[in-house]
Amino acid sequence: MSIIIISSDSTEKGEEIAHKTAQALDYACLGRELLPVVADQYGIPTDKLEWALEASPPSWGRSAGLQRRCLAYIQTTTLGELVKDNRVCHGLAAHLYVVGISHALRVRILADPAEQAREISKRGSVPLEKARRLMDRQRKLRQRWSLTHYQLNETDPSQYDLVISLSQINTDEAIKIIVQTAGYRRFAPMTYSLRCMEDAELACRVRAGLLETFPNVKVRAEGGTVIVETKGTRQNKLKKAAAIKEQVQNMEGVDYVEVHVKNGLFKKAP
């Protein structure tokens, strides 16, 4: 029993390997099919959620806030599924927010660049050289996107437990390696890691619930205790803390809420 998170520089390869790995292990597979569920739950159109997962991060304004909210909603629903365990996840950026969970095996699949360039060239009817430039641009965008939203560079191999290059290892072999690695005892769930996962889900759900009204909140959870941090002016500190507390204390899984409002205003949301 564990969680496998697959990230790839090729959407198609990541998806294919995730599905086949889930099949081999008899796990459920989570991917972009989850977005309509998120859309229903939070009243945001699916195309906006897709945009949030793909688009270059706007530096300011309403779009930046919307992208942040969309990602928080996706994250909440994804974590809500991952706490159920026995899941393979891809395409939902989980490799950037399921961090420090010992029973989550994080895998990076590197597509064969030559093959990828040929495919882009064929699909877009562009010369190979241009296809390579597009790939390079995409890689830089993903770096910026992941660093902006999660302060992690998703193209950095050190972020993963396992990195597989499809230039050297074929898809079927890659699946066998992932299945075998997931069976290692070090990736087995334990009371501590399951609790970390539950804490992450609760913190994220609380943050998602607050974001529309309080865009700049940081939330931590430990057991049923939730700690919310935000900033406010000296005049509205008490009012803001009371409003947050009232909203959070009735949420499912919350036993106790602590709100810390510090002086000042956030320049940038966490």
């Binding site: 420090g100 010992s102 005892r185 334990m190 009371t191 501590y192």
Partner: protein
């Protein structure tokens, strides 16, 4: 008819043994509590316990060494590690070395009860956990 589960509890903080010892006793465990890892290892050499619950960070001998010792001496024994300094790397290392479970402090007595129940099931020991509850800390 339920059996008694033999449990060795090791933590250099006396309060842990004092609190958890009686609480585990109530759910059908015969508990021997130790604060000194050396004395605990001596006892482990004398007796094969069903379950060993040990803190990780202690003085000279740490919980990982206790885990290694138990795994060599009695592979059947289930070792549960507890720590106030839980981190992913440590948790993975513990599981790789054969820990049965890994719990971060603070935890509720009932959390440990559930893990002990799981260990009992894994050992095929029938313990009457249903009719006893541990009061929360």
């Amino acid at each position: 008819m339920s059996e008694r589960l033999s449990v060795l509890l090791l933590d250099d903080e006396p309060i842990v043994g004092k609190r958890l010892g009686p609480a585990l006793g109530k759910i059908g465990c015969d508990v021997e509590a130790f604060e000194d890892p050396k004395k605990a290892l001596e006892r482990i050499d004398q007796k094969n316990f069903d379950v060993v619950v040990t803190d990780i960070r202690m003085g000279e001998i740490d919980g990982m060494q206790v885990l290694d010792h138990v795994r060599t001496k009695s592979p059947r024994t289930r070792v549960i590690l507890i720590t106030g300094y839980a981190m992913m790397e440590l948790a993975r290392e513990a599981m790789e070395k054969g820990a049965f479970d890994f719990i971060s402090k603070p935890f509720k007595a009932n959390d440990l009860r559930q893990v002990i129940a799981k260990a009992a099931r894994a050992l095929g020991v029938s313990v009457d956990f249903e009719n006893a509850t541990i009061p929360s800390r």
